[in-house]
């Protein structure tokens, strides 16, 4: 486990260089920090908005891009109707705007290709974002570490990164995508149409060559609780399960 002392990462201005809608409620924003940094797959940044009267709102967002992707970082922001920061990004922010951020942050929910595999990733909704950074990192590093991603979404059209993930799955190079839809029928024969459970986790692990050395679970608190219990029931030791929760 890496526990390198973190260098001070002060607030800095970052310019929005690209905006792309991913699903009806989720949009990707690419930021070019004025002082570029290299993150680890799974880390996040803090973003801070400042009103003219000095009022500030800050939130944490996971980085979706791989560390070696270069040219800034991709943050994926889901619109929360009662939110304060996400509606700003969806309704107001434009390419060329400067936003303050600090990072990279977080030293637990990270995976490096040199850590090896097999790795089991379990994401619910936008909880897939830090896991996507790990999957992309694996691809760009040409890592042979087996990774299975169990990704739960409500419906097919809310599967963030769907085409990219299916494309990676089709390469059959040791990355396996297991989609499960909770409010629609599965579209692919190997996918599921139910909430995550222990049987699904066992079947996902059968796609790995051997028992996972680590499992990463990210999503809402309810999702992470259910998924972590499913993993434990499927035989994964609790000490190998790392979680990241949105909190609510």
């Amino acid at each position: 486990m890496s526990a390198e002392p973190q260098l001070q990462s002060p607030w800095q201005a970052a310019t929005i260089t690209r905006i792309e809608k991913r699903t009806p409620r989720v949009t990707s924003f690419w930021f070019q920090p004025s002082r570029p940094f290299t993150h680890l797959a799974g880390q996040h940044v803090d973003v801070r908005l400042t009103a003219p009267d000095g009022y500030q709102a800050r939130r944490s967002y996971s980085i979706a891009s791989a560390p070696e992707a270069g040219a800034g970082i991709e943050l994926v922001i889901e619109r929360l109707d009662d939110g304060e920061v996400s509606p700003f990004f969806h309704d107001v922010a434009e390419v060329g705007d400067e936003i303050e951020l600090r990072g990279p942050l977080g030293g637990h929910f990270i995976w490096e290709a040199s850590d090896g595999g097999p790795i089991l990733l379990v994401g619910g909704g936008s909880g897939v974002v830090p896991l996507m950074a790990m999957v992309r990192h694996r691809t760009l590093q040409k890592s042979a570490a087996p990774i299975a991603l169990v990704f739960s979404a409500r419906v097919w059209d809310e599967v963030i990164f769907r085409d990219e993930l299916i494309g990676l799955d089709d390469r059959r190079d040791g990355f396996d995508l297991v989609l499960t839809l909770t409010r629609e029928q599965a579209r692919r024969p190997s996918d599921y149409s139910r909430r995550v459970d222990a049987r699904m986790m066992m079947q996902a692990m059968e796609r790995l060559s051997k028992a996972p050395r680590l499992a990463f679970v990210c999503g809402s608190n309810a999702f992470v609780s259910a998924a972590a219990e499913a993993l434990i029931e499927a035989g994964v030791p609790a000490g190998l399960i790392r979680t990241e929760r949105y909190g609510v």
């Binding site: 526990a3 973190q6 908005l49 009103a51 700003f88 979680t243 929760r245 909190g247």
Partner: protein, 203 residues
């Protein structure tokens, strides 16, 4: 730096402004955050151990610990993920009363709290005594739920809430200030919300 087009915001009412540390927002719910799965600790398996370095000083089981003097604390709490929650009501055993029951004065200036899941966090001893902190057993008058750290969690409400270790099972006095789980992973060694000490390197 003023953000173009950001006006509205969720400003707290002006009468509560002074209770919200810099960079925090007021949360009505009680979010759950943790580094791993929620351990299910049965009270019959529960114990709490006081140590000085490697040496155990005293150990209590659930019944013994619940028989210690109980105190109530209603406090505002501040999570490093930027939410602040007002008036959270807790009941439990003050660290002062744990030390008194063990018959000791604090033997060192630093303490590590340990938890059933292997988590740890460091707190200066002076931040635990003189009524500042407790091992909480009840929240809102009811047993603390497992996802909020039950059966028992440390409560150090004046520091960021990762210092209030969930599923706590002991305190260990140390000679040096030894970083705990998050403190080894980029978070601040002390964590005062009013000085916004979120990450290592913050003043």
């Amino acid at each position: 730096m003023v953000t173009r087009g950001f006006f509205s915001g969720r400003r707290p009412p002006s009468d509560t402004d002074a209770r919200i540390p810099p960079g925090q927002y007021l949360e009505q719910g009680f979010p759950v955050l943790s580094a791993g799965p929620t351990p299910r600790v049965r009270t019959e398996d529960w114990s709490f151990t006081l140590k000085h370095g490697p040496r155990p000083i005293k150990k209590w089981n659930w019944a013994e610990f619940n028989a210690l003097p109980q105190s109530k604390m209603t406090r505002d709490i501040h999570c490093v993920t930027a939410w602040t929650k007002f008036n959270t009501p807790w009941q439990g055993v003050l660290i002062d009363d744990i030390l008194a029951d063990a018959g000791i004065e604090p033997p060192s200036a630093f303490t590590l709290a340990h938890s059933f899941d292997g988590y740890s966090t460091n707190v200066p001893t002076k931040d635990l005594v003189t009524g500042k902190a407790m091992v909480a057993l009840l929240y809102e008058g009811k047993p603390i739920s497992p996802d909020h750290g039950g059966p028992a969690r440390l409560l150090v409400p004046h520091l960021y809430f990762w210092k209030s270790a969930k599923w706590v099972n002991g305190l260990q006095f140390t000679e040096r200030d030894e970083p705990g789980f998050w403190e080894l992973r980029g978070y601040h060694i002390y964590g005062d919300p009013w000085r916004e000490q979120r990450y290592s390197g913050d003043p």
